[in-house]
Amino acid sequence: MKTLFSELRAAVMVTLVLTVVCCGMYPLVVYGLAQTLFGDRANGSLIVDRAGVVRGSRLIGQGFAASKYFHPRPSAAGNGYDATSSGGSNLGPTSKRLADAVQERVAAYRKENGLKDTDLVPADAVTASGSGLDPHISVRNAGLQAPRVARTRRLSVEKVLALVRQNTEGPDLGFLGEPGVNVLRLNLALDSL
C-alpha cells in the first residue's frame, strides 16, 4: 500500500514536470526560433495587398468561379474552401453520390473549357482533395484552362502559360512529390498584369 502511494505521488509529479518541460518550455522555444528564423511562414504565409488587407495564404486554396480566373479543385471543406472545416468528401469508390458529382463536374469542365465529349478530363479537376484546401491544380489541368482565361482577359495564350509556369511549385529537390500550379498566386498574378 505504501509503495502504491509513493508510485501515485511519482505519477502526479512526473505529469507536472513533463507538462512544464514538454508543453511549456518546448513549444515556447520552438515559437521563438520559428518567429526569429521564419517569421512569415510561422504566421501562415499570408498574402497582404497594397492596402494592407490580408487576401489569403499562399498555402491555402480559395474558391474561384469567374471565367477570367483559373478554377481550383472541387472542395469538401464546409461549403467549399472553408478553412475552419478542412476535410475530404470521404466518399468511397462505389458511392453513387460521388459518381454523380464526378459526372456533373466532367460535363461542366468540358463545357467551360470548350472540350469535346471524348476529351479526357484531368482527375484533379473533378475530385475533391483530402484537405478541401488544396492550393494546387495539376499542370495539365492548368494547361486546359489557359485558353479560356486568355480569351476572357484578351491576353495571348503564351502569356498566360508563362504565368502558369512561374506559379508552378515542385517537385521538391527535383524529385519529391508532384508539380502543382498554385491557383491563388496565379490568379493574383493575372489580376496584377
Binding site: 505521488r9 514538454c22 501562415g44 478553412a83 470521404n90 459518381a99 475530385t127 478541401g132 508532384e178
Partner: protein, 599 residues
C-alpha cells in the same frame, strides 16, 4: 507506377536503412540509466532535478509487476489530467476562439485516445480545441505515450537479454530519459525544419482574409428555430449566400506536429491532418514526416540486436518488416494508380489514378506510401483520405492495422508486438522438428506461448466483437457515410484502428456520439493495456530463466529461413483472424466496382 515514383521509394528505404544503426546506437545510450550522450552537459542536471522532484531513486530497478503497475498508474493519472483540461477548456487561458468545454463522452474518448498513443479523433481540431488543449492536454501525451511504448519495449528486450534476474529496469527512469534525451531534442530541430516548409507556430487568433473573388455557395435554408426548411416534396430548400471572407487557422502547430510524427501519435492539429497545407506544406515536409514515423521503430530493431548480442537477429526482424512494408506499398500504390473504372468511364483520365481525397502536391504515389507507412506504424496521421481509396488501396491500411502494427510499428509497441510473433514462430519451428523451442537461449514453454497468444487474441476478439456489435445496432449504422460493403469497411476500420491504437480512420464515419465515443474508447484501452500486461509477464518470465547453450536442435533466429517462417506466422495469424471480415468489406467492393455497381 512511373520511374520517378520508384526512385522516391528507393530513396525512402535507403534513408530509413541509413538511420537505423545510428538510431539504434543512440537508443542503447538513452535506455541505459548510466548511458552517456553528448547532450549530458545540458540535460543531466534537468534529469537529476526531475528525479529529486518526483522522488525516484534512479538506481533502483523494478520487477515486471512493479514496472507494469508504475506504467498503469502513470497512464491513469495523466489521462485524468487531460480529461480535466478538456472539460474545463472554456475556463482556461489560451482560448482566443472561445471554444466551449468538450462533452463528457468526447472528453473521455479523446483523453483515452491520446493516453493510449491512438490519437483517434472524434472531433475536428480547428473548431473544437483551444491552444491550451492542443499544447498541453494533447501534446503531453504525444510525448509520454510514445516514451511509455519505448520504455515497455526496452523492458521486454532486457527480459530477453538478461538471465537469472527479476528486474527489468525502472519505468520512471526510462520514461524521463526517453523524453529528455530522445524525443525532445529531435522534435526541437524537426519542428523548426517543418516551419521552414510553411508550418505555422504562433499564438495569434485566427486570421480573416478578404477573398479575391467572393464565392457564391448554396446552403440549406433554416427557419427562425434553426430547423431546415423543406418544400412540399420534403426536399430541403436551398438559398444562395455570398462568402467574402476566409478564416485561416493559426496556433502552435509545428511543436505539436513534430512529436505527433516522431512519437507515432498521429493526432492532427486540424481535421484534415497531414493533408492540410499547413500541417504538411510541401513534398519535402511529407518525406521527412514519413521518415520520422519509422525512425525510432526501425532503430529499435538495431537496439534489439545489440542488446541480445546477435545483430543478425535484429537485422532479420528488420528485413521481415521491410518485406511486409514493400508488399503493402506496392499493392496500395498499384490500386490507387489504376484508379476507379467507374469514374474513368465518365471521362476522367485513367492515367491520373484515383485523386479523390488526395492532394496534388503529393499525388497518388506519396499518398499510397504515406497510407502504408502510417498504418504499418501505429501512427494514424493521414495525408489523404483513406475512406476514398479504391477498395484494394484501402484494404492495405486496414490489413496493416489488423496484423497488429508490427511492421516497424508504433514506437516500442511495434517491437514488442513483433517479438510476440517471433516467439510464436520459434515455437512453431520447435514443434515441426520435435524439440523444445528456444529463443536466444531461453526455453519457450507453455506459459510463454499462452501469454503470447493472449496478447494476439485480445486484439482479434475486441476488433471483431465490437465491429459485430456495431453492425447489428442502430447507433453503429447511424454514423455511416457510405452504403454497401464500403459501410462495413468503415466500421471495421474504426474498431481496428482503435484497438490497434492507430488513430487513422475511414473518416466518413461520424463517431462523435456517446455510443461511438464510449465503445471506441473501450476498444483503445483494451488494445493497449490488455496487450501490455501479458507481454510484461512474458518479459518477467524470460528474465528469470537461465540461458541454455545453443545445441544442434536450436532454431537459428537469423537468416532467410527465420525471416520466411516469421512472415508465414504473421500472415497466417492475420489471415485466419480477419480474412472472413475483409472478404465482406474491401474484397467484395473491389469486385462490385469492376462491375460498375454503385450504392
Amino acid at each position: 507506377m512511373e520511374a520517378a515514383d520508384w526512385f522516391q521509394l528507393v530513396v525512402y528505404v535507403a534513408a530509413l536503412a541509413a538511420i537505423t544503426k545510428p538510431m539504434g546506437l543512440y537508443l542503447m545510450r538513452v535506455l541505459d540509466a548510466n548511458g552517456r550522450t553528448w547532450l549530458d552537459p545540458l540535460l543531466r542536471p534537468l534529469e537529476r532535478l526531475t528525479y529529486r522532484f518526483v522522488g525516484v531513486k534512479p538506481d533502483c530497478e523494478q520487477d515486471w509487476k512493479q514496472y507494469t503497475v508504475a506504467m498503469l498508474i502513470f497512464s491513469l493519472v495523466s489521462c485524468l489530467f487531460t480529461y480535466a483540461i478538456l472539460r474545463l477548456q472554456h475556463l482556461l487561458p489560451l482560448n482566443p476562439q472561445g471554444f466551449g468545454a468538450l462533452s463528457p463522452d468526447l472528453a473521455f474518448n479523446t483523453a483515452v485516445s491520446f493516453t493510449t498513443n491512438t490519437n483517434w479523433q472524434s472531433y475536428s481540431g480547428e473548431s473544437t480545441m483551444s491552444y491550451l488543449s492542443q499544447m498541453v492536454a494533447l501534446t503531453l501525451h504525444n510525448f509520454t505515450s510514445a516514451a511509455t511504448g519505448i520504455a515497455l519495449a526496452a523492458a521486454l528486450v532486457r527480459g530477453i537479454a538478461r538471465h537469472s534476474v527479476k528486474t527489468l529496469g525502472n519505468f520512471w527512469v526510462d520514461l524521463v530519459r526517453v523524453t529528455y534525451y530522445l524525443l525532445l531534442p529531435i522534435c526541437l530541430v524537426f519542428a523548426v525544419v517543418l516551419v521552414s516548409q510553411g508550418m505555422i507556430q504562433n499564438f495569434k487568433p485566427y486570421t480573416t482574409a478578404k477573398l479575391v473573388e467572393p464565392m457564391k455557395i448554396s446552403v440549406a435554408k433554416v427557419d427562425q428555430d434553426g430547423k431546415p426548411v423543406t418544400d412540399k416534396a420534403g426536399r430541403p430548400v436551398m438559398e444562395t449566400h455570398t462568402v467574402t471572407e476566409q478564416t485561416i487557422v493559426q496556433g502552435p502547430m509545428a511543436s505539436q506536429v513534430a512529436i505527433k510524427m516522431l512519437g507515432t501519435n498521429g493526432g492532427g492539429y486540424v481535421n484534415a491532418n497531414a493533408a492540410h497545407p499547413f500541417e504538411n506544406p510541401t513534398p519535402l515536409s511529407n518525406f521527412l514526416q514519413m521518415l520520422s514515423i519509422f525512425a525510432i521503430g526501425s532503430g529499435l530493431t538495431y537496439f534489439l540486436g545489440r542488446m541480445v548480442s546477435n545483430q543478425a537477429h535484429g537485422w532479420s526482424v528488420w528485413a521481415a518488416m521491410m518485406a511486409l512494408f514493400l508488399g503493402g506499398v506496392l499493392l496500395c500504390w498499384h490500386s490507387e494508380a489504376a484508379g476507379n473504372p467507374i469514374h474513368q468511364q465518365l471521362g476522367v483520365a485513367a492515367a491520373d489514378g484515383n485523386m479523390e481525397g488526395k492532394e496534388v502536391r503529393f499525388g497518388v504515389f506519396n499518398s499510397a506510401l504515406f497510407a502504408t507507412v502510417t498504418t504499418d506504424a501505429s501512427c494514424g496521421a493521414v495525408n489523404a483520405m483513406h475512406d476514398s481509396f479504391t477498395p484494394l488501396g484501402g484494404f492495405v491500411p486496414l490489413f496493416n492495422i489488423q496484423l497488429g502494427e508490427i511492421i516497424v510499428g508504433g514506437v516500442g509497441a511495434g517491437l514488442y508486438g513483433m517479438l510476440v510473433f517471433v516467439i510464436l514462430a520459434v515455437f512453431i519451428a520447435g514443434l515441426m522438428v520435435g524439440r523444445t523451442p528456444e529463443y536466444l537461449g531461453k526455453k519457450i514453454q507453455s506459459y510463454e506461448v499462452k501469454m503470447a497468444m493472449l496478447a494476439l487474441l485480445v486484439l482479434a476478439v475486441s476488433i471483431l466483437g465490437f465491429a459485430a456489435w456495431a453492425v447489428v445496432s442502430s447507433w453503429g449504422l447511424a454514423g455511416l457515410n457510405n452504403g454497401g460493403p464500403h459501410g462495413l469497411s468503415e466500421i471495421l476500420y474504426a474498431f481496428s484502428s482503435a484497438n490497434g491504437n492507430n488513430g487513422s480512420a475511414f473518416a466518413g464515419l461520424t463517431t462523435n456520439t456517446p455510443w461511438w465515443n464510449t465503445t471506441l474508447g473501450l476498444a483503445m484501452l483494451t488494445g493497449r493495456f490488455l496487450m501490455i500486461v501479458p507481454i510484461m509477464a512474458l518479459a518477467g518470465l524470460l528474465a528469470r530463466q537461465k540461458v541454455s547453450p545453443p545445441s544442434a536442435g536450436t532454431f537459428p533466429v537469423a537468416g532467410g529461413t527465420f525471416v520466411g517462417l516469421l512472415l508465414g506466422t504473421i500472415l497466417l495469424v492475420g489471415a485466419l483472424n480477419f480474412l472472413p471480415a475483409l472478404t465482406l468489406g474491401p474484397v467484395v467492393e473491389h469486385l462490385l466496382m469492376l462491375h460498375g455497381k454503385l450504392f
